[in-house]
Amino acid sequence: MTLGRFGRLTDPPASFLVTDVRVIDPNDGSDAVRDLAVIDGFLADPGNASDRIERIDGRGLVAAPGFCDLHTHLREPGDDVSETIACGARAAARGGFTTICAMPNTEPPLDEPARLAWVIDRARDASCRVRVIGTVTVGRRGEALADLAAMADAGAVGFSDDGAAIPSSRLTRSALTYLRGVGRPLIEHAEDGQLADGSEMRAGPTASRLGLRGWAPSAELTVVERDIALAEETGGRLHVTHLSTAAALEAIRRARSRGLPVTCDVTPHHLAMTDAWVAGSRRFAWQEPDDEVSLDVDHAFDGLCRVNPPLPSRADALALLSGLADGTIDAIATDHAPHPAERKLVPFGEASPGMIGLETALGIGLAAVEAGCLDLARLIAALSIRPAEIISERRSLAIGQPADLVVFDPAARGPVTSDQLASASSNTPLLGVELPGMVRLTVANGRITYRS
């Protein structure tokens, strides 16, 4: 399998015609096989496409609005070994993403306008639009609010101290109140630092079996409940990222049934992988679990399965999947968290938490679709228009709009291998696991950013 070719946002606008492609547009719920024309970077009436532009045979392929990732770690500034803006953006393009939101827990953190501007400037000629999330607090230290309005003016699409929750309820209340005026969401990494302190994996039978310190779901639930209460009281906009437990999902469901505008996302790995993966299982949540995975030398205690929040119980993964299917969970966000091998090839509890996700998100989603847990249109909405809406952006496949789309082959399949990955890191336990779906074409703002 080849890596394909990458383009940049600064390339000249593209013109092409994709024939007989299944176009799924969650904006209007349409799903039809038709021709799709792009002329000089804009969606056009296929009837107006001249014979001279390239024609792409779209039979068997699906076209959809370009994907938007609300949660990406690009590691710059500070750690260009794990990832760079350029490599992360190529990984995004290869995964069908046209927009990614860079998390601010870099070194130094993105906590002031000049630092945001630095990232935005470096991303100008990347293979994917890079939006920036600012920190909520100065230095991400959880002590005092950063200059949120100034960062919003510099381009921040939301604010998060990701990696940790805002530690104090008082500060969270201040942030939510202040952000009402700024008009951007608070993106919360919902985890009580004291409850989670020292934990290595999700609490449960596998943690007990392996002798790893357990992370209890209350660590997430208590912060989600706190934040909902504060959002309700202040009217601030709350977005909970990488939701990982059924209990917190229920709390959000209840809040939304009261009409609160609380939104949330889930990662592909919390939908598909379970705590049994730490013992060495490689079966997706929707597959029948192994009776009892015998601990084998190759897979047990693999640091690649260490992630925060930790991989959920199977019951919670299935609950998250149905929460995504019914729309309680708005979006899929990757929490793409690159780490070099040396931070993973260590005893489990010493491994840096996180896994890469931009290049496997669609594949995991399509595997869930194949298993009958999710419909394709809902998957596409959760990867494209819903996350875009959360950062107040729109995606349209209407004629006259700038082309921002992905064309993929849902039936192509193959194992994930590190030599295909465009990310600078390859830390994912999916290496060697077969996934469906291959992106053929990614078009961001009228430019072809990836093609295979």
Partner: protein
């Protein structure tokens, strides 16, 4: 597992865990340990590992386990080197895996590994070609201690089939307890665990394990009672209010042992906190098997080393 066949990283077999070992494998190890014990007493043991080099890598402090591995290796004729990892290049920024690979290049064929992180022996086994023997990893496993305990119990009770063994104390954080849960059940015993709720959490509903939250229930009719070392630093970090409070509810003493079967022996993996887990009368009295556990340490490890190196 594992007395494992090769899996791509070399030809070594390993002892990483007790779970996954079959009843026959355990019995064979115990029988071999008895043989080693007899031979060693008669000074007739053979140099089965004569040209082998065994490295001891103890990332956590240990006296009795380290010494018994050293004596076991030497009794079998191997060259045994304490690699002193706790103080050496580990502090100079070299990674765990790099250190092990360096040791392998010096000619170590079997590595006895103790590490504070659960699962470290698995990483060692897949990253090097050495045979790995787990001498205790985090809260996960301590296979040779479980074999020592199984042999000691077998000496005292005969077959463990259908016997009830009570494990008392901080089961949840104990690698000794976790390994014993596997070996005892595999040998047909019923296991009952007892301790403050935070210390027995996570085992309700596990096949073959009963959970008790009062010492009377934990000991009721038990054929043997094993009490676990209270990790003082852990007690301070939570789970129990104080050692005094723990002893009040859970210390083994003569009156409490009345709940157990008549004459039921007492075990402790050591080192004991005198007066906390059990009274010194009990620890040093006729029901105590604590000294026997120590004595069985060397022959059991001889059996393990010989088996892992396919020399027995």
């Amino acid at each position: 597992m594992i007395l494992d066949a090769p899996r791509g990283t070399g030809s070594a077999r390993h002892l990483l865990d007790v779970e996954g070992i079959t009843r026959d494998e355990i019995l064979r190890l115990l029988d071999l340990a008895e043989e080693m014990r007899r031979a060693r007493a008669e000074r007739t043991h053979r140099a089965l590992l004569e040209r082998e080099t065994i490295g001891l890598a103890f990332y956590e402090d240990s006296t009795r386990t380290r010494v018994s591995f050293e004596l076991a290796g030497k009794a079998l004729g191997a060259t045994v080197v304490d690699l002193g990892v706790a103080g050496s290049s580990v502090g100079k920024g070299e990674s765990f895996v790099d250190t092990l690979r360096t040791l392998e290049r010096t000619g170590v064929s079997l590595l006895v590994l103790r590490h504070g992180s659960s699962g470290a022996p698995y990483l060692a086994a897949r990253s090097t070609g050495m045979a790995i023997v787990n001498a205790g990893d985090g809260m996960h496993a301590h296979p040779t201690q479980a074999l020592v305990d199984a042999l000691t119990l077998r000496d005292a009770l005969g077959s463990l089939e259908g016997r009830t063994i009570a494990l008392v104390g901080d089961v949840a954080h104990s690698r000794v307890a976790r390994s014993n849960l596997h070996s005892l059940r595999t040998l047909g015993a019923r296991v009952r665990i007892g301790g403050p709720p935070a210390w027995v959490a996570g085992f309700s509903g596990v096949d073959g394990i009963e959970v008790a939250t009062r010492i009377e229930d934990a000991l009721d009719g038990a054929d043997a009672v094993m009490t676990l070392r209270v990790q003082l630093e852990r007690a301070a970090a939570g789970g129990i209010p104080s050692l005094r409070e723990y002893s009040r509810s859970w210390r083994l003493d003569a009156p409490r042992m009345e709940y157990a079967a008549p004459g039921a022996p007492v075990l402790h993996p050591g080192p004991t906190n005198e007066g906390v887990e059990l009274t010194s009368e009990l620890a040093n009295g006729p029901r105590s098997l604590i000294a026997r556990q120590v004595e069985n340490g060397v022959p059991v490890r001889m059996a393990v080393l010989a088996t892992v190196m396919s020399a027995a």
